[in-house]
Symmetry: C2
Subunit: 177 residues, 2 copies
DNA sequence: CGCAACCTTGCCGTTTACGTGAAAGTACGG
DNA sequence: CCGTACTTTCACGTAAACGGCAAGGTTGCG
């Protein structure tokens, strides 16, 4: 971890330049700029010479985006939606501080909770469908293992029966819907 | 359900023409042809005049493909991989019947099982990462709900304290990795 | 057999999500 | 102050995943 050269004196809050931030998340600088172009994030700051500078929360946000894209398979458009919710939360945060009216605050918090529930629902839906696929694949695996066992018994003990193999009905998976 | 016109006398094994098959799965004929072009499937038959004709297993396969694409967010390339496994299974099926050698059959079944486990692993991986996101979102929801309750108590009982709101640390989600 | 509705194979267009320079500015160790 | 590596903003190029259209063949009721 020697401060090779281009490291902006790795002290303090340590703002990262685009390449460093991108590398830490596993993205390319180009992608990060593109995400910014789409309004998915904005660097915490800009240097004197207009270099993008990212802080810790930016990196987390990028990780979140990458997770949604890679793991959940969301399009950047869909991610923009979810992050717009996030933005709304931020604005709500400000609004929350702007008022002392308990009713207003309750409204803000309720909305925020609703957005979370919405996100959770989306993710849960995907998980359920994936789980259905896993279940199905496991069933097939189970049948195959059963046949392996049966074959092992046959081999090890003697001729059981020349039954023409009760294979699984040549159905792909079933894959929910 | 009147046999309007273009229905090929909906009897028997009922082979579907591309539009019917596509509609049943929620795809467009164009997509189905494209999938074929990529080698993801081949219609069970062709009519006299070269019309594509799909059977039940084709439809299941299309559903599977759509599931992987929409739910799991796999690219068609990745799906092609998984389906290549499927194809290998089919070939294995034939090979299985071509031999009576228990050792050979065991090999075939073992390979098949391995492919299933591979598929299951991929899906499980995605599920885990998605679950991590859900957990994180739920934690945030929990904190928000906590604040809602606190506010309810404050409203219902009297002025508690004007503490400047102990909000959650403005971190997006965390999203595994 | 007539014709509307569907199908076929091209082939070009489009959107998404970047890759890849080009031209010019910036940061920084030496 | 210099060189080099990194950065900036255009701008064009590309692979993936289709949409849409054209030109022509097929199905099948009437």
């Amino acid at each position: 971890m020697t401060v090779e050269k281009g490291t902006p004196s790795g002290v303090q809050t340590s703002l990262l330049r685009i390449q460093e931030a991108a590398a830490e998340v596993g993205l390319t600088p180009r992608s990060v700029r593109y995400y910014e172009e789409l309004g998915l994030l904005k660097p915490a700051a800009r240097s004197e010479g207009d270099y993008r500078l990212y802080d810790e929360t930016d990196v987390e946000r990028l990780k979140f985006i990458k997770g949604l894209r890679d793991d959940a398979g969301f399009s950047l458009g869909e991610i923009a939606q979810l992050l717009e919710d996030e933005a709304a939360r931020e604005r709500g945060h400000a609004a929350y501080h702007a008022t002392t009216d308990p009713a207003a605050r309750l409204q803000i918090l309720t909305d925020r909770a609703a957005r979370y529930r919405h996100q959770i629902e989306m993710l849960r839906g995907k998980i359920e469908r994936l789980q259905a696929m896993v279940d199905d694949a496991e069933a097939r695996l189970g049948r195959t293992n059963g046949k392996i066992e049966a074959l092992g018994a046959e081999t090890g003990e003697g001729p059981a029966s020349t039954t023409d193999l009760p294979d699984v009905p040549s159905r792909p998976l079933e894959a929910a819907r």
